[in-house]
């Protein structure tokens, strides 16, 4: 009898613990921002758009950007908006855009929207990027535009080139954010320039990778897997093997589905670097 009583107490205690856990449900809104840092706010008369990224800034190359929209009156975050964006580079003679994704809600309950923007060039003294965000809430359209800060990256993470097939391609390094001495999951993007404002993902190609350490006899690493696409329209996935810390040059070759190389050279004893490459240092 006593034993049963003990069990009942235990069950009650467990139930209480569960209940007290569920009290913390509101905290999901805070957890959403884990690992993210706000780098800019864009404000119009009705809303404030907060922009977030992992490094708390934008940089030349591939950027994962997250945003949320706050109602200036209620201070509530909007959960049901439809969002799109358009980054534009303002140059002396012309304007152009860059590869970028759709903007999608991360979770239906959350407040964050996400997408990527790949800035193929950095700003300079006379040329700058701005970002236009269009969004609609309950059938009403809104817009806001701000100048954004896109400094040059320290290492090469983007290659823009004309392929042997006369197409202008862009390839960019996306992941790993924090490379380690391991077989890293690698994510890259491959796009082409259709016109100044349209940069669609190139489907079905292979981005061949050959990581090398120029400071140490240009040695390579084993068991790399070339980046390929699993779903059309998506980024490319591969495996990047790094056998030690330091500066690595990831030499690239872009191959069409039929195997034709449109750009990049194979590394040999005499060819120590490809004309397209990424750099990482850790």
């Amino acid at each position: 009898m006593k034993f049963q009583l003990k069990n009942i107490v235990a069950i009650l205690f467990m139930a209480l613990t569960l209940i007290s856990c569920s009290d913390n449900d509101d905290s999901t809104t805070i957890n959403e921002l884990d690992g993210l840092t706000k780098f800019q706010e864009m404000t119009n008369t009705t809303h404030t758009i907060e922009l977030y990224s992992h490094i708390g800034a934008l940089v030349q190359g591939y950027n994962e950007v997250k945003l949320r929209i706050k109602d200036n009156v209620t201070n509530q975050y909007i959960k049901n908006a439809t969002v799109s964006w358009m980054p534009v580079m303002h140059m002396a003679m012309m304007n152009h855009s860059c590869p970028n994704s759709e903007v999608e809600k991360i979770t239906s309950e959350g407040t964050l929207y996400e997408g990527y923007i790949m800035f193929q060039m950095a700003q300079n003294d006379t040329e700058y990027w701005d970002l236009k965000i269009d969004y609609s809430i309950d059938g009403i359209d809104y817009t806001t535009t701000s100048v954004i800060d896109v400094p040059a990256s320290a290492k090469r993470t983007v290659n823009t080139f004309m392929g042997t097939d006369g197409v202008k391609y862009l390839v960019a390094y996306a992941e790993p954010h924090h490379p380690s001495v391991a077989l890293n999951d690698m994510v890259v993007g491959v796009w082409k320039m259709q016109d100044m404002m349209t940069f669609p993902v190139v489907d079905g190609y292979t981005l061949k990778i050959d990581p090398r350490m120029p400071s140490m006899g240009n040695h390579s690493s084993p068991n790399n897997v070339h980046a390929t696409q699993t779903t059309a329209g998506e980024l490319y996935n591969g495996k990047l093997s790094l056998t030690m810390t330091g500066y690595w040059k990831i030499n690239l070759q872009l191959a069409k589905p039929d195997g034709t190389i449109v750009k990049g050279e194979e590394i040999t004893d005499t060819v120590t670097s490809s004309s397209i490459f990424f750099e990482i240092e850790f």
């Binding site: 077989l183 040695h219 690493s221 056998t243 030690m244």
Partner: protein
């Protein structure tokens, strides 16, 4: 065909030759050699060079040879098998070197002044303190006794002309019926040595300091406790055969032992020891000119362990049981410094913090049938677990083995038997054995370990199977007052023989390396060893001693195994009269024709060198002096042996003088 020849040779040796024995008691004979070192060796007629290095002492053994990478820290090989396949212990303690390039075998962390003798056991019979394939060396520390109150002081000094080696040592011993304390210190400092043609061998210098202390206390007549510590520090050690040197090799070895010797009991002796040792090894190329990239390769090894060993007899059976465990932690790193100082350092784990836990039991039964014959059976069973503790290191090795788990466990077994027969000075014995070993840390988890002999980067393989050996051995001997002759032969068939094989798809990391090799297993390899030794008392004062060894090793594709000794021989004539003794000896090797060029070996020409030495012992009042003076390689022959890494030449003419004083 080759096998038939081997068997014929083996049989021939059985009929004509005989086996090495030290004493002739009724107790069972083992395939065991005892090399006297240190204190015992101060019996000046026993050794030609009392202050030689441990390596020089061990090299006298028929079963042991040394792979040399310079003047210091030679790697002992037993039955032509290197350290992975052998077991070297200090008083039963497991110690693991901290260098990925085997520049610090355990023998390099002790000094002759610490030790009394080295017991060398061939094959599975050496498995008392752990698993082995080739055999074992147990370095025995000075054995102290309780007794009448007594103080002893010793001073040892030596000088060698070739590398200007200065040796200085001192020891103090005290004992009474309840306590004993022994402390000793020894310092060595040597410059570059000169090879036979007078050419200086650059980067062959070394400097070493060793301190040891033992303290014993007796609770009662048959219960005692002993603590012991050895601290050894070598600095500025050059390895002329390698691209890197060692700025520091430091070891602290500590133990506490409890011994119980029951009186009038079937249990003869029960000894339990707890031990700990820590090794720090700093390899770098700071002093080398023109290196393509500067690098540091430090390593650390820590081992905790215990054993509890009991001897007891029942009727005609003599039993030994040894329970033993150790836990080792091995880490090694490599940091490379790019020429551009703004670039990040290049870093990797070459040993990814590998933890090894071993728990085992060893059982031995000597069954003495009668005063002539006996049978010994031994067996061991153990659990061996490797665990990669560093996440960084684990992910590194997962580049090669994506499915690899951090932990890998194995069961290791061995069983051996030996029959022995002695009658009228004639004796013979034969043995059969089976044993297993786990891969070493380098073989299992090494990451881009450069072997400067074959020029390949080596990658470990955690999925290797246990290496297994079948072993057969024979020994035969005859002895009377004037004459003693012994011969022995052993044959090992080693299954899943671990060796590194080239993988052409991989690109080396080391600048200038030939390629990458991955540890893998051959179906089998065979090793045949034979030796003969003879001692003849020509008169009361003259003794002639000779020994010769020969070995052959083949892999399953009938290719030669690396580091297999060609015919090697030694012959000496010793004169002893009163307090004076003198010795002249010749030693040499036949040409090494059975080499393996894939492992960087080439044909090593034959050589022979001539050595002389003499000693004199005298008293001045209560002061005892022992002097030894001698010349090694008197003819200044330029030579290198099959076991010299990258054919590095051996020491040329060397005159040594040892002076020992005791009070």
């Amino acid at each position: 065909m080759k096998k038939t020849v081997s068997i014929l040779v083996l049989l021939f040796s059985v009929f004509v030759l005989a086996q090495n024995q030290e004493n002739d008691s009724l107790k069972i004979k083992e395939l065991k050699e005892v090399i006297l070192i240190g204190k015992k060796a101060n019996l000046y007629e026993k050794q030609s060079k009392s202050l030689g290095s441990i390596d020089e002492f061990l090299q006298q053994s028929l079963k042991v040879d040394m792979i040399k990478r310079g003047a210091y820290a030679w790697e002992p090989i037993i039955n032509n098998m290197p350290s992975e396949r052998t077991l070297v212990t200090i008083d039963g303690m497991r110690i693991f070197g901290a260098c990925t390039d085997k520049m610090d075998p355990i023998t390099s962390y002790v000094e002759v002044s610490n030790l009394e003798e080295a017991t060398i056991v061939s094959g599975q019979e050496g498995g008392c303190f752990g698993n082995t394939i080739g055999g074992s060396i147990d370095l025995k520390r000075n054995k102290n006794t309780f007794g009448e109150k007594k103080w002893e002081f010793h001073l040892n000094s030596g000088f060698e002309t070739n590398n200007k080696q200065k040796i200085l040592g001192a020891s103090v011993n005290y004992r009474d019926s309840l306590f004993y304390v022994d402390s000793d210190v020894m310092l060595r400092n040597a410059e570059n040595y000169k090879a036979g043609n007078g050419n200086e061998v650059l980067f062959s210098q070394f400097s070493k300091a060793n301190f040891s202390s033992t303290f014993g206390f007796r609770f009662s007549n048959n219960k005692s406790i002993e603590t012991a510590i050895i601290y050894d520090k070598a600095t500025n050690v050059g390895y002329p055969a390698l691209p890197m040197d060692v700025s520091l090799a430091e070891a602290a070895i500590a133990s506490i032992k409890y011994e119980y010797v029951p009186l009038n009991s079937k249990v003869k002796n029960w000894e339990t020891k707890l031990y700990f040792n820590t090794i720090k090894h700093k390899m770098d190329d700071t002093t080398r000119p023109n290196v393509p990239i500067h690098m540091d390769m430090p390593g650390w090894s820590e081992t905790f362990g215990y054993y509890s060993k009991v001897n007891f007899s029942k009727a005609k059976h003599h039993f030994l049981i040894n329970l033993n465990s150790f836990y080792n932690k091995s880490i090694a790193e490599m940091t490379m410094y790019p020429s551009d100082p703004n670039e990040n350092l290049m870093f990797m784990y070459t040993w990814p913090d590998v933890r090894t836990l071993y728990n085992g039991v060893f059982l031995e039964d000597e069954f003495v049938f009668n005063c002539h014959s006996s049978l010994k059976i031994l067996t061991s069973f153990g659990s061996h677990i490797n665990h990669v503790a560093s996440q960084f290191g684990l992910e590194s090795i997962q580049i090669f083995y994506p499915e690899l788990k951090a932990e890998k466990s194995r069961i290791l077994k061995s069983v051996a038997s030996r029959y022995n027969h002695v009658k009228l000075g004639f004796e013979y014995g034969f043995g059969l054995a089976y044993g297993e070993r786990a891969p070493s840390v380098s073989e299992g988890y090494g990451f881009y370990l450069f072997n400067s002999f074959d020029g390949y980067d080596n990658i470990g393989n955690p999925n290797l199977k246990n290496e297994k050996a079948l072993e057969g051995s024979l020994s035969i001997g005859f002895k009377n007052d004037k004459f003693k002759i012994n011969a022995s032969a052993s044959y090992f068939k080693i299954y899943d023989y671990i060796i590194a094989k080239t993988d052409v798809s991989l690109v080396p990391m080391t600048i200038g390396a030939n390629g990458v090799r991955i540890y893998t297993a051959l179906d089998y390899a065979t090793l045949f060893n034979t030796d003969i030794s003879a001692e003849i008392y020509l008169s009361n004062s003259f003794k002639w001693f000779s020994q010769a060894t020969f070995a052959k090793g083949k892999d399953s594709e009938n290719k030669n195994l690396p580091f297999i000794s060609p015919l090697s021989y030694m012959s000496s004539l010793r004169f002893i009269k009163n307090q004076f003794n003198a010795e002249i000896s010749v030693s040499g090797n036949a040409s090494q024709i059975n080499y393996n060029s894939e492992f960087g070996e080439d044909k090593t020409p034959s050589y022979a060198i001539l050595n002389v030495s003499s000693g004199y012992k005298f008293k001045l009042g209560t002061n005892n002096f022992t002097t030894r003076i001698g010349g090694e390689n008197l003819l200044d022959t330029y030579y290198s042996t099959y076991a010299d890494w990258n054919n590095i030449p051996r020491v040329g003419r060397n005159i040594f003088i040892n002076l020992n004083y005791s009070l």
